[in-house]
Subunit: 290 residues, 4 copies
């Protein structure tokens, strides 16, 4: 029985290639995580185990997909960045997004027991949705990353104040919300300090800055990275310059690099200048193990 | 710190709404499942536990997403069908696909231990990719489903003969491949019967027909379904006919229905005629529990 | 000098194929025709020469593109319909739209002098923009056509009353607008009849109904068209049924048919039932020239 | 009669916004111009009147659409470039493409009589199709432009040799084609020079270089343009820096600038360095009329 009679239905599959030479960001979000965090009694405003689980899943995704340059996570969301020269899956949007979403989910569920040993998962299970967005310039990409980190800061400051009012101040959610409504950052800092002796600056970096996942190459001295990020690595990749051998070597060096999670500022230039491999996509120097 | 400076990056998110009034199929596939099945010693040509796990995950997906009308699975792939009038997530392609992929993956990993209690999962974990395709007409949709079921048949007949040659006939993979190359269905049936006393018709239906997941309403007498599937349920939905109350009622009846896995022919008209709720999207009669 | 160094830029061209088995409508609109109609002193509320020129251009488009099944025009807009089985330009959206827009514009400019012999064109010249929309079902397509014809009616009734108030009633535009604001169709009919002795029903059909452009085959008796429009002409086309010879014959018969402009109701079933070739895409009988 | 019953069909219109912060190129091509050029006896290998008509139409397009930064034409094709910060028509692809195609066609038909006074147009009229492509980086854009100019050169050298063989050498088309098959640029130069005393370098620039259409601001000394093209004009545009007044001023200065057609090298850096307004989108200095 040949299948030719029905195969015409394949013609309905429409291509979804992302524009070449653009930075691809796949952002995933927990589905219904408000309810989910209640079900599993996540601590407020931040549950360290939940964040560590998110980070562990993100590390696993990055290990399985060496094309990912950097990832950034806050709360129940994670953004994964592919270099603009990335050719994985021919840059098919649905393939890139679903691979990341699926891999992330698999590790999240699989590793759950290590982080929440006393509360086994039950249906409905945690799940994530995702989407791909592409950005033409380095500035756009960095602004995207900055947008997420500023969001982390805004949300965390609010949540810290909100839960301090409730947990220490003893007010109910409605009153807390009302008190914070329209308040500026300075107001929230003041509430935390004067009423609860909390210096927001001393809060853990993971809550204030979110989590940055990257390959752990040697940092470069600021200003030392002489080469500008060239506008046009695409041409180089498509052209003669980058040999097959070179690509293979890069891949090996990438696979060897330790993947690390840091809680640092990614808005300032310094972060990107000291890690030129992020934007150049050329692997850095692997530091000697101490 | 307001976030307005960076928020412009949201403008790069492009809409991906699927055309209204079309049947949406989300097909997911196991990533690298050839290697995966070797790692976990799946039985050949079919591993019943692996198929049961796929089906359990598909049932869970359908339970969590009542908008799914029917699902069909073979090997490491599954197709989920949304009715043409479906408005879930505003019909955003990436949202529909990632939700299904993620939910499926979560249950696959979570339920693994129930089906493979003796071989715990280890990295790299199983994962799935997926895509959405939309079909304008009922005929196109049914042809899609037929295409998958014919594929199931072709592959299973081939694999059954291939592994019989190896497992019973004692030849190596290369010889088996060579022997089957260019052979017709009748030839493979003959090989199975004359050499190994295997009557392919007696093979388990789950292997020959794949797995159909649907809500278990009462079957309708063939020919009794008087109403034609109307070309234009969209208008009905958008218009006055279908009231909010009606929609709510439908949803409840859908949620109540038992989800069942069957291994039946979905190519012939009879399957669709006896289950008019599949194409009409109006819930059927829930049978009395025996 | 080979051109290979730069040819990579072709990879940035993204496909824009319209979904198979859907009805394609290309709608074009005059750009800035309010200003344009003032510049050339179009008569109000309708300028017969301007409409005749639109219709002449539409006929020319349909002559050059036999794949167009039907066209419908009102004011400075025109909709061209391709059958759902149409394969012209591989159904590339931009190619279909620009070809129609360009051909229409060419004839509009070229034929201008025949319709407005005393007012030659000068820069800025008339131009049109356009877009393609696709509809999965016959009902959707017919609803689209109905939408345009109802719009024609609503606009024309309003404009007829508006300009009667100004041209005969002697009020200014603001007062006319105010008087009609919030009025129902019956109110406008009443104004026209009681104040200006205009029976709207007696207005020319071209203004009330717009213009339908189609191939002039013999009408079929209502109810005589036994064959239902099959859901699935695509399969037929892709399959064996429709031979190359048949297709060639159809094309010839289509090219022979006279293209006619009519001002008739396209909302009621009768219009479509008596002209089964519109939805079946099978050429009708060419009537004997009298 | 309200139109709400049918208005749902508008939901089938799908958005087609081009990615922000990318260079938009709309390329249009003559439809069937091989046949068309035969019908109107275009001179071979180049018809100066036909090229001048193309250029006149392109100038008109650029006059009507001040957002166009530069245009480049060869033979029966023209490419129009919008700056990456362009917000015209919200960057809707079909609107941009059809507006250009329609405006170009209108002028081509309207101006025909000025360039071909002795051969009036008749049906089928000339028409053009078009498509939009977007490029993320300046390098990609320049490579696109270079690609077209190299193509111009390759085609023109070939055509010049081909028609010399036929028109002067007296061979037929087949023999000419055969002789040139596989030949290098040097070979064709040699044929032209040794057999026909034609020094290709002395051929008119318009044939060798194509036609560049741009606003005629004062050239800048090479190296004097201190400011780098910033990666990120989008942000500037969306942000505070570029005031409404500034934008208005820019528009006026752009409208005042004379549009000129030149036949120069656009591959080398010099062209772009001396005309910084092309990539910066900031109007240059308008030269004093002599």
């Amino acid at each position: 029985m040949a299948n030719s009679k029905y195969e015409y239905v394949k013609a309905f599959e429409q291509p979804d290639l992302l524009l070449p030479n653009t930075w691809i960001v796949v952002r995933i979000d927990g589905r219904g995580f408000h309810k989910f965090s209640t079900k599993y009694n996540f601590e407020k405003p931040n549950d360290r185990r939940a964040l560590d689980l998110m980070n562990a899943a993100a590390k696993a995704v990055m290990t399985e997909l060496p094309d990912i340059v950097i990832a950034y996570g806050i709360s129940d969301e994670y953004s994964f960045v592919f270099h603009k020269s990335c050719a994985l899956f021919e840059r098919r949007s649905s393939k890139l997004v679903t691979t990341i979403v699926s891999t992330f989910t698999a590790y999240y569920v699989h590793l759950w027991a290590s982080f929440f040993p006393e509360t086994p998962l039950s249906a409905p299970l945690p799940s994530f949705d995702g989407r791909a967005v592409h950005y033409p310039s380095v500035q756009n990409l960095r602004d995207y990353m900055s947008w997420r980190q500023v969001d982390c800061h805004i949300n965390n400051l609010y949540n810290t104040a909100f839960w301090a009012l409730i947990q220490i101040g003893g007010v109910d959610a409605k009153s807390a919300e009302k008190e914070l409504s329209g308040s500026l950052a300075a107001d929230k800092n003041e509430i935390l300090f004067s009423r609860f002796k909390i210096n927001y600056n001393n809060e853990p970096e993971i809550y204030k800055k979110g989590s940055v996942v990257l390959r752990d190459y040697e940092l470069v001295e600021p200003g030392a990275a002489q080469e500008l990020i060239d506008e046009d690595s695409l041409k180089t990749v498509d052209g003669v310059a980058l040999s097959k051998t070179q690509e293979e070597n890069d891949k090996k060096r990438r696979a060897k690099a330790r993947i690390t999670v840091q809680h640092v500022d990614i808005i300032k230039d310094e972060f990107w200048e000291r890690r030129p491999w992020l934007l150049s996509n050329k692997p850095g120097k692997i530091p000697k193990e101490p």
